[in-house]
């Protein structure tokens, strides 16, 4: 624990990932000649900096663009516009061969521990694949590395010749983590890494991710919809709504003093496993559903569900501004 806190405190300050004006628009084709008739604005102008050694949590409801943001940062989806820098290198303009080399530094952990592992590969082959692709040693060295990686994620190296179906969800997620660690990346995007797991297993994986961060000095972008888990693991948290970041702050601060009405509603909607606390809490029940990202509302896109909305909210899009030190919010009437 102390080791982990030191790792974060000594490392803060230097930026590892810098995202500016990131946009991902998906075309909707239709009509005559299959023209583009509309755009799904999945990510619509996201700015983020991720500091070396920290965990940045990215939360939001389904369809808010949090996963797309994670994938676009890793260039798994080509961004429509904007810039992504890893260690100062602009990724969006890199030629494919150069980008491929960069991929060793940035890896991903997926949500679905069932779909993300090839059922025809043994565990050893799955974890060895990135090492072979990047020519990290001869066959014997790779075998040794695989055995070591299995040990690191808490699996018995004896399992190396088994197939994914022989493992439980939690164990498969450990295999996925071992694969992501194989190339010793500095940056990992974890996309809902625990949400497919049972409650008693989630804690095992959350603790593993924290231990690995302390041991290898990893930087995480932790994408999830479960705010309790995100708050637990993250140093800072960014809240997304309909393709934009509406608030970003240290996780303690965001929880104690949320400034954006959406964050306030989101926090109040999360049930706390304590009937005493539940009885005392005031719940903000939001009306209606999240609007479609094909045709987002003008101005602040949260205004149709916001109880504070004024005329200006319907017309002018609020920018993400630093309202307090290290506390950013995109709202005309924060607080």
């Amino acid at each position: 624990m102390a080791q982990q806190q030191m790792a974060t405190s000594t490392a803060t300050g230097t930026t590892l990932v810098e995202v500016k004006g990131l946009k991902v628009h998906f075309p909707i084709k239709g009509g005559l000649f299959n023209r583009t008739i509309a755009q799904v604005k999945a990510v619509d102008g996201v700015d983020l900096t991720i500091r070396r050694g920290e965990t940045l949590g990215l939360v939001g409801e389904s369809g808010c663009g949090k996963s797309t943001t994670g994938r676009a940062i890793l260039q798994l989806i080509k961004p429509t516009a904007g810039s992504v820098k890893l260690n100062g290198v602009e990724l969006t303009k890199l030629p494919p061969a150069e980008l491929r080399k960069k991929r060793a530094e940035m890896q991903m952990i997926f949500q679905d521990p069932f779909g993300s592992l090839d059922p025809r590969f043994t565990v050893g082959q799955i974890i060895a694949e990135p090492l072979e692709n990047f020519k990290r040693g001869n066959a014997r060295e790779i075998r040794e590395q695989v055995a070591h990686l299995l040990e690191v994620v808490g699996l018995n190296p004896y399992y190396v010749n088994r197939f994914p179906h022989e493992f439980s969800g939690g164990q498969r997620q450990r295999i996925g983590i071992a694969r992501a660690l194989a190339l010793r990346p500095s940056f990992i995007v974890a996309d809902e890494p625990v949400s497919a797991l049972d409650v008693s297993i989630q804690a095992q994986v959350v603790n593993l991710l924290q231990d690995l961060q302390a041991e290898f000095g990893l930087t995480y972008l932790f994408v999830a919809h479960n705010l309790s888990v995100v708050k637990h693991i993250s140093d800072r948290v960014a809240v997304m709504y309909l393709g934009r970041i509406v608030e970003l702050a240290a996780s303690e601060k965001l929880y104690e003093l949320p400034l954006h009405p959406y964050t306030q509603a989101l926090l109040s909607a999360i049930p706390v496993p304590d009937p005493e606390v539940e009885a005392r809490r005031k719940r903000i029940i939001l009306e209606g559903d999240v609007p479609s990202p094909v045709n987002p509302p003008p101005g602040c896109n949260f205004h149709p569900r916001c109880w504070k909305a004024q005329q200006i909210c319907r017309e002018v899009t609020p920018l993400l501004e630093e309202k307090e030190r290290d506390h950013y919010v995109a709202c005309h009437f924060p607080g």
């Binding site: 804690a203 637990h232 929880y255 719940r283």
Partner: protein, 325 residues
């Protein structure tokens, strides 16, 4: 009139598969009073859904079969009823809301038609017009805006949260005495989950409907239910009023669950205490307490004998453990 609305005694529901007999629900007993909100908590495979499906007799058969026990609803044993009597009971006295609002509705009929159909099935002599009126009324009740017009819409024109409201409308259309909700908000976003829970709680109170809420989320239970049963590997391991479950949990599994979930109001730097290992394979014979291999307080006796659900000396609190805390 019996005191209990529902009385489940020694229920056993097994699945006969090629790889062996899976004892999904193994000797489960509990009761529900009229109007009570009961939470059933457990992980996947703990038998909570199969318990619910057994109560309305919708266990897929084969491979599933209720092999023992009795389920008394208003004093009558549901397991002795024939198919016609069950059809009569389902939807009118007992109804169920499922997890997935996307596949629970028929895509080729309008929302209004599907609610009216339920009403007509159970109220003899009601006219089409009256049934439609009731459908619009129910949509209004579950707070679908502009219900009169929306009743003519098809399911695909509704969002996930709205479809779950429609399912609740159908379930409550005939004023049932028991509403079983199986993970009703798991597929929904948190802000929508809050809407749905608030709605179900409110309506159950208003109509005096007993609510059986099945969930893996302890937080949902804390804010919604009066009594909680915790299931593990086909057994009830603990049963207690909601406050006691959270304040003085007795079974090591309940304690383990509570320590392994991060809380929104926890202090910074708290480390989670995971439960080691995994739930047991139910197709194998389990000797002794099913939680013994993962239990931090395990004793030799736990590996030999199965503990019964017994009072732990704190009022209504029961636990199936030889060494409860």
């Amino acid at each position: 009139m019996p005191e209990n609305l529902l009385e489940v005694n020694n229920l056993k529901t097994y699945f006969f598969t090629r790889s062996g007999v899976v004892k999904a629900v193994d000797d489960v007993s509990f009761t529900m009073r009229p109007g009570e909100a009961l939470g059933v908590v457990g992980e996947s495979g703990s038998g909570k859904s199969v318990t619910a499906l057994s109560i309305i007799r919708l266990v897929a058969s084969p491979p599933g079969k209720i092999v023992g026990g009795e389920i008394l609803f208003n004093g009558e044993n549901i397991l002795e009823k024939n198919n016609d009597e069950m059809t009569e009971l389902r939807g009118s006295k007992i109804s169920m809301v499922f997890q997935d609002p996307m596949t629970s509705l028929n895509p080729v009929f309008t929302i209004g038609y599907q609610i009216a159909e339920t009403v007509k099935r159970h109220r003899k002599g009601i006219s089409n017009d009256q049934a439609w009126q009731r459908a619009v009324e129910m949509l209004d009740l579950v707070r679908i805006p502009d219900a009169r017009r929306r009743a003519k819409n098809y399911p695909h024109e509704f969002s996930g949260g709205m479809r779950q409201r429609v399912m609740i409308a159908i379930a409550l259309a005939c004023n049932p005495q028991l509403l079983i909700a199986d993970e009703p908000t798991t597929a929904l976003d948190v802000t929508i989950q809050a809407q749905i829970l608030e709605l179900m709680k409110g309506l159950a109170k208003e109509f005096g409907t007993a609510l059986m809420l099945i969930t893996h989320d302890l937080g949902v239970v804390a804010g919604t239910c009066e009594h909680v049963i915790v299931m593990y590997a086909g057994h009830i391991v603990e049963s207690a009023p909601v406050r006691q479950i959270f304040q003085t949990p007795a079974h090591p599994y309940t304690i383990g669950l509570l320590q392994s979930i991060p809380r929104l109001d926890e202090k910074r730097g708290t480390r989670l205490t995971p439960i080691p290992g995994q739930p047991p394979d139910l197709s194998r014979e389990i000797i002794g307490c099913p939680y013994a291999p993962r239990c931090p307080r395990v004793q030799p006796r736990c590996r030999q004998e199965r503990p019964e659900l017994k009072p732990v000396g704190r009022g209504e609190q029961l636990a199936a453990c030889f060494y409860p805390s």
